[in-house]
Symmetry: none
Subunit: 413 residues, 2 copies
């Protein structure tokens, strides 16, 4: 089986955005053993889209479309495909109900063009959109599989991974099933990880093992093909154990885990409350934790002290400390952590200070970060990071390292 | 003139990297008044590359290739084009000398496949590579312009911008230039905006007007084609004024502006300091402002009070207020804003409270948000949002709405 990915959207041809959807879909299809031979990008133009589809039908078994399912006149992907295949468009009641409810909750007038988003190719297998309004669909005709997905990555990625992929796998593997398992690592570089498991990457057959790096995290995706789920799981567990024996100390989670979700999980499991005093991260650490439902069981809150004055006023840190050690120092991070823990009466206090960049801070170069963690009944711990990269990358990295250090301390307990 | 961009490289089809070269080249070509109608990605496979070139020759005047100019067997872009056009490959002496010197400096033996990188299409206009070994080239045949560029962005981008672009501009008989201008809106939906300016979208010719929505923001990109920049700017300004007359109250900025950057800009321009008390957003508002360099001139800091207890302890909000109005209320948002302004001694205080979801809060359904803004010398203002969607979408939307309300208040001053 081979596939072509067709992205529809003039914003791509104007160079406003890159075609990251094709990258995502390609990596997902490769796990299903589908060869992607072509990516095509075409604008919001019916005639050119028709021509592109005709070309794709000549050279691909599976045609995946992204974009053009929205409410505007520019959105014409499904209309064009329906016309070309001589298929009717019909309302998907589930989607329609959701869209109407959405505007009701919003108290915003629902214009008719919004309804258009609930139209699907008659007879297609509808893919639910849990992050937006336009449903996707899988449609089969003349031994070709057409998959239509919305353009926004936030909607397309989960829809492909959790809705389209299993349905496609069932169509492709005649009985055989394909399972994926993601191992998540932090605190180890991609190259370093690859070298450590090189022999596994070199000799992979089934399961396959694919490394992927993003935002300072590295993942290994194990994909097994077997006659039944139990056998696939057995293959995955064996491979995962093999990998853990080598780099297990850097693994923090699996699949959809995030450093924040694992941290909140561990805090709740240990019945510990937490507060944070943030300088360079300016609330990002608390905001990341707050993305996790149930966080209110552990996060009391904290303070953002963005200058020396507020560190003294709000946290009672003596100006002498800044004079002696500087604001970007182990001493300042420790004092912030202890002070905010006392101030909020929590079991744990976290202090984050540093020079996010682009400029350094005093003698500290941009990217220098100090993290302090104060836990009831133990000495305050401090950690130094020397990050590079952009201002905002540094801030996010600082937050992720804080989570990984917290996880280690909590697991030691 | 219209163009097709062909990226050659299996790593793109495997989903290992995104086709950022096509994005860059597209934005550069649009400035030259060249319409890009298609992007194509094909693997390191001669037969499929030949087929893709044949298709492109039927539909484009300019064909831009990226990748496949390197030393390995996989690199076959120029070899394939040469064979297809019946053109010889000849050594470019400049490139050859550079490559030889490179290996001499390294003190490493130069393998013959490295020499291959100095081969160019005979009779082509060579594009120097100041960041790598493989030169690029512009080749003309049968009224078609073929542009070959190396794959690595750090080689391709400067080569296109400083070598290919001027040479291409000189070849384009029609000396028209194209300018784009992006209008950024907040607080209005994509469909709603489109209905409001429908007559403009329906009757667009030059300038063209294209809507694009993401993360609750909507943009209109105005693109004008004219004989000179002054005329293009005149066309854009006229169209922008026409649009502003209809939906101007929702516009917050242009081009690369963000709600956070405009807010920080306005705060600094007015010499105002700000602090925030955040509940549902848990620091996200402060963290978003902190993404903007120079924010330390206005952001003092703030508090995250994630439960009633901390709102009372840290902000001195009377428990009676929660009992009477609830935590998710205009009264609570106002009290948080005034209290944090006093606590941090700033000119402005912001209070954010709400039910992010998935669950509601007391009688308040998920997505209910109250924003309070306390400004020195004015009555505290509060705003209610009824958002839907995901927990974290709601939190980011709440932050963006806060910025948009702040901007309105600051512009009223």
């Amino acid at each position: 089986m081979n596939a072509e990915i067709i992205a529809v959207g003039s914003e791509l041809l104007l160079g406003q955005i890159a075609n990251t959807n094709a990258k995502f879909i390609s990596s997902q299809l490769s796990e299903l053993g589908v060869n992607v031979y072509y990516h095509t990008v075409v604008g919001d133009n019916a005639a050119r889209l028709e021509e592109v589809i005709a070309v794709a039908e000549k050279r691909a078994n599976i045609i995946v479309f992204s974009g053009g399912l929205g409410p505007t006149k520019d959105d014409l992907t499904k209309e064009t495909i329906a016309r070309q295949l001589g298929v009717e468009l019909a309302f998907d009641e589930t989607a329609l109900t959701y869209i109407e409810a959405f505007f009701e909750r919003l108290g915003r007038p629902m214009t008719d063009n919004n309804k258009k988003q609930a139209l699907v190719l008659a007879g297609s297998d509808v893919l639910a959109n849990h992050h937006g309004m336009a449903p996707g669909m899988i449609f089969e005709r003349n031994d070709k599989i057409y998959i239509l997905l919305p353009g926004p990555p936030k909607e397309l990625e989960p829809m492909f991974q959790f809705e389209a992929k299993p349905k496609l796998a069932a169509r492709l593997t005649d009985g055989a099933i394909i399972l994926s398992h993601v191992m998540r690592f932090y605190g180890i570089g991609e190259a370093e990880l690859e070298v450590a498991v090189q022999h596994i990457l070199d000799n992979q057959t089934n399961p396959t093992v694919a490394p992927l790096a993003s935002d300072g995290e590295v993942t290994l995706r194990i994909t097994a093909k077997a006659d039944n789920e139990q056998e696939a799981r057995r293959l995955i567990e064996a491979k995962a154990a093999e990998i853990q024996a080598i780099v297990g100390q850097f693994q923090y989670g699996i699949n959809d885990d995030s450093l924040a979700s694992k941290t909140v999980e561990a805090l709740l499991a240990n019945n510990l409350t937490i507060a944070a005093a943030e300088s360079l991260t300016a609330g990002l650490f608390q905001a990341e934790l707050a993305e996790i439902p149930g966080v209110s069981g552990t996060l009391a809150g904290g303070v953002v002290t963005y200058n020396e004055h507020t560190k003294t006023e709000q946290l009672g840190i003596a100006p002498e400390l800044f004079a002696e050690y500087g604001v970007v120092s182990s001493e300042c991070a420790a004092a912030m952590a202890e002070s905010v823990r006392a101030k909020f009466g929590t079991n744990i206090g976290v202090g984050l200070t540093g020079a996010a960049g682009p400029d350094g801070h005093g003698k500290q170069p941009a990217g220098t970060v100090w993290i302090g963690i104060s836990m009831e009944g133990r000495d305050v711990q401090t950690y130094k990071l020397q990050l590079s990269g952009m201002r905002n990358t540094n801030r996010l990295r600082a937050v992720k390292f804080t989570c990984s250090y917290l996880l280690r301390l909590l697991n030691e307990k």
